[in-house]
């Protein structure tokens, strides 16, 4: 079978890490993939410019959910500036399965939402 439904993808899909909401979020964002209706929300707790805690929520396919779940694991303790600079390639590598062009948006929706949460926080910095 194709390599693209590996065990760990299903595991993240059925047992997403950091799923839910934060009691106190410093930054949050959500977006919809208009083509399929998938929705993801990221909430961040920030301390000293670093991600102290993170939750994501929403619904969607195994690829979007697993990608967001893995993403949430990989950013704890990271600097916001680094989160904002995270590359698509890094995320795709993390997901670790071949993603067809048609599913690219699924795999990257989490990253898009996470970055807008982080960017919103950075833009709001001065106050």
């Amino acid at each position: 079978m194709e390599d693209f439904y590996k065990e760990y993808i299903l595991d993240h899909y059925r047992n997403p890490r950091n799923f839910g909401h934060l009691e106190r979020a410093d930054a949050a964002a959500e977006d919809l993939n208009p083509l399929c209706g998938d929705k993801i929300r990221f909430e961040l707790e920030i301390e000293d410019g670093r991600v102290k805690d993170v939750r994501f929520s929403g619904k969607g396919c195994a690829i979007s959910q697993a990608s967001a779940s893995m993403l949430s694991e990989s950013i704890k303790g990271e600097k916001l500036e680094d989160v904002v600079r995270m590359s698509r390639e890094a995320v795709l590598e993390n997901v670790g399965i071949g993603i067809s062009p048609a599913r690219m948006k699924c795999a990257l929706l989490g990253l898009k939402v996470l970055k807008s949460a982080a960017l919103g926080e950075i833009a709001g910095w001065p106050d």
């Binding site: 439904y5 083509l35 209706g37 998938d38 690829i63 048609a102 699924c106």
Partner: protein
Amino acid sequence: MIATLGSDARARALAKDFPILAQATSRGKRLAFLDSAASSQKPQAVIDSLVHYYTHDNANIHRGVYELAARATEHFEAARAKVAHFINAAEPAEIIWTRNVTEAINLVSYSWGLGNLKPGDAILTSQLEHHSNLVPWQLLAAKTGAELRFIEVDEHGIHQLDDLDERLRGVKLVALSHVSNTLGTIAPLETIIPKAHAAGAVVLIDGAQSAPHMKIDVRALDADFFGVSGHKMCGPTGIGFLYGKRALLEAMPPFLTGGDMIKRVQFTTTTFNEIPWKFEAGTSNIADAIALGAAVDYLEAVGMDWIHAHEQAMTAYALERMRELEPLGLTLYGPPNPADRSGIVSFNLGDAHPHDVASILDTEGVCIRAGHHCTMPLMEKMGWTATARASFYLYNVEEDVEQLIAALRKAAQIFKLG
């Protein structure tokens, strides 16, 4: 193996008219194209029509006196007559070319709607509608102050008509899809249209999912407007049409304006042309209109009644075979009685997301659609995130269903279902 036996041999022969169906996927799999509700494949005759037009007849129409222009004009207007005959319109002038059914609906919304609705009036549609037959009415309601009302559907997607008379009170426009693209429900138009007319409403039918699949008679239906997309009925992309009764069309102001739809232009005033040209501004999609004429020729040669019967048989067969997968978590949606639905089957497979199911099916050469099918409000009402959808057309054969079932088993296995 019951239902399809009768029509399968013919469908197998017809499939040969569609060159794309002979093409294997990049993984070397046979193509099982089960997404005709999104857009159908095209027979060689339609492709040939395009090639012939650009190789022998191409010229701008209506105003040219030379041979090419005369031929282009003749074929273009002949295609309009074919389409008029296809849906049994009273005359070709009642057919207005549009890009697709979405533009047809928008034309009515802008040209008829803005002039005929006011606060206190209502528009009645249903909970089943495609965004194209919903969003234009939301905006029209917002612009005119009219109220947007819905015919409710039950958990199978069947229209609830008990309180229809009440819901029709004050309604000036009823806008309904003939067949639901998500659940396949056939709307009970023979009940609704007479009541709508009795209540003083004008009726627009979104024929996107009916005209390709069953014989349409707009006069027997007594529809006031009827919109169709050519790309779903073996025609090319970029062409569709709006049927409208002459008296209504004549009373409506133009929508798009510019070349070809005028009678006389002066610097500050303009007299508009007669129907249908009043509504066709700028250079038409000449080649694709002619090719849609070729599609109509093809469909009529196959026979709309045969197409409908074949799809009913295919659907009954598919539903039967898919029920075998219920132990693996397969859930079927839509009207339980195959006679109440057309060749569209929405389903879900356990907790596997339809996108993932579709991706796995793709690796097996099976093309289905997954998502909200441009009916988000219906999905929300039903409480579904998304569904997978297989849809049938004249070229689908038993083997497509076999391939679907086998691929679904594979998906269930990957998702460890059952």
